[in-house]
């Protein structure tokens, strides 16, 4: 067999699982792919190295691929997403002090994001009255689902994320430290960092991302559009390999093996137990042992989650417009939708079966209007 060498960048997060398992469990080698996985420290690096061709493909924030294709925030380089590496997987974690404050102001079940968001609004209003500093929240990147999720949640309670709180970018490995040193009062980040904060006893998970949106597009396999065209055969084999790795991960019999593959220091580098519980959606939300189980906490290819849907891209673009990162235009919407390529996915892995539990508008947000890619202006006006 012909061997093809690929360099693929990733950030140490649980949703890089399919890539890591594909390489370290030998699925890539079976398809004649010799893949060098390069662990990176920032999304900016991953994007730049992909853009200039130092990487053939990358584990990337889904909205960042759209931003790159639109030329927002940086150099315009058209990127494609032929495979979703992760759907969901984020959580909102707050400091014990903020949790107490929100709980004291909650009018109903704090597990309901509408209740917690309204409670947050009351905390924010009270702090303003007494002249306290603005609450500060961390998220991982301006073009990230984390940013859009935490904004969506706050806004649902009447908190303006640009005026009523301070929303700052923090690299995930710094999240827990920043919470314990009280530089932030809460954050929205992916696995395993919420669990890390809980285990350290410095944070409490307030919501899983799937409490806010039933299916939020999170990480993609990103490739340059030109690369996808020139190396269609290699891409196809790469997608086949990722499909196999996802199936392997979702077989409960492989739980321990997957967790130990991902846990090694130059891959994700956290305790296998945390990774295993994350993949099972069985997470402690507080140090006192309270835990929650939600099978939808993170989806690595399960229930057709790996198939990229242009509807998801349209939703992400709508969030960019909502928070004034991008102007609304039909062209930009079309460009965003064209980033997500179910045709390439189907070409490699066969047409997807009907999703068993997909929400009717593809996203399933806990509140707000039904998402309609055909009329984003009307959708946004309804908030």
């Amino acid at each position: 067999m012909i061997e093809d060498r690929l360099r693929i960048g990733f950030i140490p997060l649980v949703d890089a699982a399919a890539l890591i398992v594909a390489v370290d469990r030998g699925f890539a080698a079976d398809e004649g792919l010799v893949i060098e996985l390069v662990r990176e420290v920032s999304w900016s690096n991953v994007r730049d190295k992909l853009n200039i061709g130092l990487f053939d493909a990358a584990h990337l924030l889904a909205p960042l691929a759209i931003a790159s294709s639109l030329g927002i925030g940086h150099v315009k380089v058209p990127l494609l997403a032929p495979f979703m590496l992760g759907v969901n997987g984020n959580a909102i974690t707050v400091s014990p002090a903020l949790y107490e404050a929100v709980a004291a102001d909650a009018d109903g079940d704090l597990g309901d994001p509408s209740v917690s968001a309204q409670a947050l609004a009351r905390v924010v209003a009270r702090r303003r009255r007494v002249g306290a500093e603005l609450l500060t929240f961390g998220m991982t990147f301006p073009f990230s689902t984390h940013n859009y999720q935490i904004r969506f949640w706050m806004a649902a309670g009447g908190v303006d994320p640009d005026r009523d709180v301070r929303l700052v970018v923090l690299p995930p490995p710094y999240m827990a430290d920043s919470l314990s040193s009280r530089q932030v009062d809460g954050f929205c980040v992916g696995a395993p960092w919420n669990s890390v904060a809980v285990e350290l006893g410095i944070g409490r998970i307030l919501h899983f991302g799937c409490d806010l949106m039933a299916r939020a597009p999170e990480k993609i396999l990103a490739v340059r559009a030109a690369w996808a065209a020139n190396r269609a055969d290699v891409l196809k084999r790469l997608l086949i390999v990722l499909g196999r790795a996802s199936d392997f991960i979702n077989n409960p019999a492989h739980g321990d093996e997957v967790a130990s593959l991902l846990a090694v220091p130059d891959r994700i580098g956290v305790a296998p137990e945390i990774i295993r519980r994350t993949l099972e959606g069985r997470m402690r939300v507080a140090i006192d042992g309270a835990s929650r189980i939600d099978a939808d906490y993170i989806l690595i290819g399960r229930d057709d989650a790996a198939r990229p849907e242009p509807n998801s891209a349209a939703w992400l673009y709508a969030q960019m417009v909502r928070w004034k990162q991008a102007p609304l235009s039909a062209d930009a919407l079309a460009t965003a939708q064209a980033c997500f390529r179910p045709d390439l996915y189907d070409f490699a892995l066969g047409a997807g079966a009907m999703r068993r539990r997909a929400p009717s508008d593809g996203v399933g947000a806990f509140t707000g209007p039904r998402f309609d890619p055909a009329d984003i202006a009307k959708y946004l006006a309804a908030f």
């Binding site: 420290v41 900016s44 730049d48 190295k49 200039i52 005026r163 923090l170 690299p171 710094y174 920043s178």
Partner: protein, 205 residues
Amino acid sequence: MAHRMERRLFGMDSTLKIVIVDENPVRAAILADGLREAGYTNVTHIDEMTNLLARIYTLDPDVILIDLENPSRDVLAQMFQVSRVVKRPIAMFVDQSDAAAIEAAVDAGISAYIVDGLKKERIKNILDLCISRFHAFARLREELERARTALSERIVIDRAKGILMRIKKISEADAYALLRTAAMNENKKIADVAQSVVTAAELLK
């Protein structure tokens, strides 16, 4: 401010305010020295990553240089956002037309951001200087690494010689010759054979 603008128009780049964001003090010093030698006297080094944006806004730099090993690079991405904390737009120096420049910079391990509106030709030499300084630092680090490896190899060979001299009751020269012959026969480095001797001796203790 008007005064500064005017001086800029007359090409006195020494007034440019440059911020280096780097947690590695040696590399930052090498870079800062290079910039000063080239006439850029207004250079500040930030090595503390907490509240990075606030520090940068306080310094109000014209050029920001950050190493690619620094996770806080993503924090800078926030400066491109339309938000109340932004005082003025910032753009990455290497834009669309500079594929070669961005490649050279990323390859060297550095990223540069400049204030929008600053003519890029005018800071081209800053970036070129940074790239060569970053390469110089990488070479320095490699040399250090090689020196360290050489030292640890010598230590392990000395230990292996000592073990052989004790067990086989031979001279130091003979012990070394024995290691060298074994290495040649097995097509290995002497240090690797020495390491096996040391490991075996520990196991047999």
